[in-house]
Symmetry: D2
């Protein structure tokens, strides 16, 4: 089969022919319908400092946001059968550590990531642990299924670690409107947010945030976002900030636009340490900051399925491009261009059928 692989510990990748892998006893082999490109994949292609430190073994196939049909199952797999259409939870948990045993497998102490610690999904076939294959069910387009993993990030951030009881009837700022931020705008709208303020310097992305339902769009290069949010909220601030940018300055601003008793969920990954005014912006305000990573297994997947299958959130504005595997370089360039939402790599680009309306490369 064809697979897009890192061949060496440095920039670049190659589309090469490799054998179709065999699923292990508790694994499934999936025929890939589509795999969307994540920021992490750009880092791996470019082989930045993070990639060099984080990735252990090359050569390897990368890519992890994937959906496809089960092709074969291992001997110990009893609840999945060939033909089932599945999306991949990319956090591979050990199942036996303290956090796994207490229902928090997504922050497993021995966590491995698909396509980073294991062979990935930019290929015609991918092997998944059976427990990581989520049956997609009816009402979700196959292309949409391939973005359920990053969409789930947005859902998990919106619900937060406390159950999302603070979204409905409250005001929410989404900082950073890359694809996950775009998704988050739609999610908090569907959860009953009173007012959604999207903060993003890139005009194309602000436009997408608007399509997803943002009430207010702020360009932080044009206005002071803290002052603008406080003005918009009559001096009170927003009850919830969803931080998707990973920008150090934006994180600090997030604390400053938060209302007393507010919640900031942090999903964007800063490159460096972050300096915060804990005194005035956290302690006296009794603000709550919480780290968010991955998706609750599998409560978030169920919420994701409901939001997508019922149309409560329509993600089609965010799925902007679709390329065949052989045009992977264009796909990565498009992803990096700042003028795209989610870009899907499809081994068989004709196998779309279900989806229409987005640019097909």
């Amino acid at each position: 089969m064809r697979a897009l692989r890192k061949i060496a510990r440095g920039p670049g990748a190659e589309l090469v022919e490799v054998p179709i892998p065999e699923p292990g006893d508790d694994e499934v082999l999936v025929r890939v319908h589509g795999a969307s490109i994540c920021g992490t994949d750009l880092h791996m292609l470019d082989w930045n400092e993070w990639a060099d430190r984080r990735v252990r073994d090359v050569p390897m196939t990368f890519g992890h946001e994937v959906a496809g049909a089960v092709h074969a199952v291992g001997d110990e797999v009893h609840h999945l059968h060939p033909g089932a259409f599945v999306a991949a939870e990319t956090h591979i948990a050990c199942g036996h550590c303290t956090t796994c045993q207490t229902g928090r497998a997504h922050i497993c102490e021995n966590l491995r990531i698909l396509g980073v610690d294991t062979e990935g999904a930019f290929a015609e076939y991918v092997v998944l642990p059976a427990q990581n294959a989520w049956v997609v069910g009816e009402g979700i387009d196959p292309d949409v299924a391939s973005i359920m993993e990053p969409f789930g990030n947005a859902v998990h951030a919106a619900f937060g670690t406390g159950g999302g009881e603070d979204i409905a009837t409250n005001s929410v700022a989404v900082i950073g409107c890359g694809p996950i931020g775009m998704f988050a705008v739609g999610v908090v709208r569907a959860l009953g947010a009173f007012e959604v303020i999207a903060i993003e310097p890139n005009g194309y992305r602000r436009g997408k945030a608007s399509e997803m339902g943002a009430d207010v769009l702020l360009d932080p290069t044009e206005v002071d976002p803290v002052a603008a949010v406080l003005e918009q909220t009559k001096g009170v601030g927003v009850e919830v900030v969803l931080e998707m940018s990973g920008n150090e300055r934006a994180i600090d601003q997030g604390t400053r636009m938060l209302a007393r008793g507010g919640r900031m969920s942090l999903l964007g990954l800063p490159d460096a340490s972050v300096t915060l005014d804990l005194n005035d912006q956290v302690i006296f305000k009794e603000a709550r900051l919480q780290g968010i990573t991955g998706r609750e297994m599998f409560r978030t997947w169920q919420q994701t399925t409901t939001l997508l299958s019922t149309g409560r959130v329509d993600v089609t504005p965010v799925i902007t491009h679709r390329f065949g595997l052989d045009r992977w370089q264009e796909a990565f360039d498009t992803t990096a261009s700042g003028r795209s939402g989610k870009v899907i790599l499809a081994p068989d680009p004709e196998a779309t059928g279900h989806t229409t309306g987005h640019t097909t490369g």
Copy 2:
């Protein structure tokens, strides 16, 4: 009456004779039994940068951790009567802003603090808003009543903003064992913590933490507290950190000793901005950081009353000194010495009766 007052915007104070104040319509006049000295009071005496910025009007009487008997009530006060023994909630809330209206008066948008924004309690009498007078009830010694306010800080930090569901059966680190940290050790023991680790450089204070029930004592000048906590918890970290030091380095260390999914409540006030490794210590771990200030009005007071009146927490090791108002300088020196717990100023030092066992100056 005698009152210890800031006379000028600079270091020092004077014990002077002033008229007994009159309560306003919705206020009560309290005859002070005892007022304990807070770190804030040291700042006001020394007139540090914070005091100069924060305090508006001098001359003024300072002091706020106070208990005493109601002496007279204003015309609009119907539920309190002279003779009632009360302790003061020092957060004076407006009652009408959004946070007040949603049950979070302790983070009122128009918050004023007794003895900082209003005339305080280092005096023979003090005026309180009637709604800030908590009837102490049976079983609590009058001297103990005078420390209910800072004890309540420890209770609020322990319960946190989420109800304290994560204390029982879990391990807890208390960073910084000044009086509130000492109290916190006793509180989390009473709430069923599995293991309490107290981190404090001052040996006298570590001794007090031990008296209050700490299982493990760490001197951060002798050992790396992060390494020591991880070793003590078999690499997992503690589920809860109560940060009472306000030390920038200690706050960073707190995030590093926290278990995945853990909670750090921040009560100690750092002098400057704090730099954190949000990436590895908050986001990937899904840690929760929460600011803590004051006491929930008045859920925390009820919890405080139960813990103290039933003896679930015995605070007598922490109430170490008691001085007459005329010996205020000794009292402040003792507070600043690093060899004391709570130091009480008593207008009538013979009026103790109920309490014994602590050094009386």
Copy 3:
């Protein structure tokens, strides 16, 4: 002024002339814009067994769901001024009992109800405790303001005692679609419910539930609602039941249509004891049953204000009739007819201005 009063302890009422009342020190006098009729008011008119047991003093003016402009304020009222347009929280709390002190004033141990324990609002003027006057703010029609109290019941039931974290993406059944049930349908839609099933024998009311956004309508006299809900949810049941009927049989059915781990909020008041299969329907399913009464003071009012002022819920289909005070008998007959939503009594029926579209009698 004219006031609709119970003159004797028996059926009937009279529209009589009485002096305009004076507000006490901590009260406000409100010029009534509109007062909507509640089921309780029907009981008081008919003087059923409940009314005879519950009401202490007659003669008295009844009615409690009210909005209007502040006309005068008492001496102790400092935050409200004549002209402010307010709606009434009808639960008059003591402010000093344990539940009040712990932020749950709506279940005050010494609770009194406007128009039941005090002079009510079917009159040209009504006196309210100042703390019970909620400033309505912009964007809410005066007639809509007069139904904020029962709408708040629906909001409180939807959020429940746990914060409403289980509404978004979940399925919800509303049992009993009188006005509060009709409101509840709209509220859970706005909070992101996946699917709303309305159960109601009265066809007119089912129609209103449909207008408010119910996905599925069930007539329990035609189908077995338990079987129908289980079929609709593929055997799983609904995650949330909002019980608004007070019907003993319906309450039992509610437990049977609840999913494992589900929540049933009980607001409808049964006339008699209720027999439940706790074993199979509660214990083995770990179902949660919770009583709901009144509105959280004032968190629910803030949520209510947001939902109404932003149009997230449009209640105009439920406000079906409006009568002048002199046509009170028609108004009560209409309320009892089963072919109405909320019916408003207006002392000055021409003073509508803002609202249109509903039948004016």
Copy 4:
């Protein structure tokens, strides 16, 4: 091996010789150290109506509260090895239904129970699904390990479905002091309950509740328990009721002794439907009733392990008897006598070593 088996669908059992079972691919074979007798086991011996309806297949070995050493593991079991000392979670979950996928495997839609739906543990060896074998760890006596399952019921009831945030500093009533009620008394004490009221007609059991730390003992055949609890709590009622009796009258009484906003966790199984005054005791009080079954997998096991291994709860007063397998009839008679706590059946009664102090039959 020897096994105590139901031979026919009727009263009685026989100790017979059967082959040692073989573990399946994902199972473990455990050499039984001890299996304690549950009320369910009495029902199976007596073959009451419940047993006749519930049990599908006989002959079968019964018993389920068990601990022992892993003797052999199936081919698909990779994290457990022979020699590990384990206790059994008796709820066998499917892992794939909605409740399992959302972290609530203990109320799995396809739940099977060890020793009821599968071959049980009153035998020399028992086969467990590998995922149901909890590694006991250090500091817990092997006999104590055999009661971790019912102790876990008490822990789960105490924490409730909301995290147990309402135990510390609050008053708790435990209704019904069979072994699980006795355990519950000790658990809520360890979690910081202010006052524990034990309600139980059997004097022997009240004595055990006292040994476990109950502050107040009530005999409901001598006093009205509702009146007594209200008097003890100054008319307020208890914040938490843990209902362990399953007695219809006691459940009704539990709602009547509950404070406003209180929580009643229901674990005892009533034989018949239960009639409740929902109006006054649930709705107007905003009481919360919640079903409790099994143990959260495996959060409760971790809490259980901490409480037992640290000595926070000492269960030795409750483990009152220990018999060899051949003396099973005496063991069951003792269990039914009303003068016992937990009774352990031990295939090898000499293999105690670790435990002392209880009657050995």
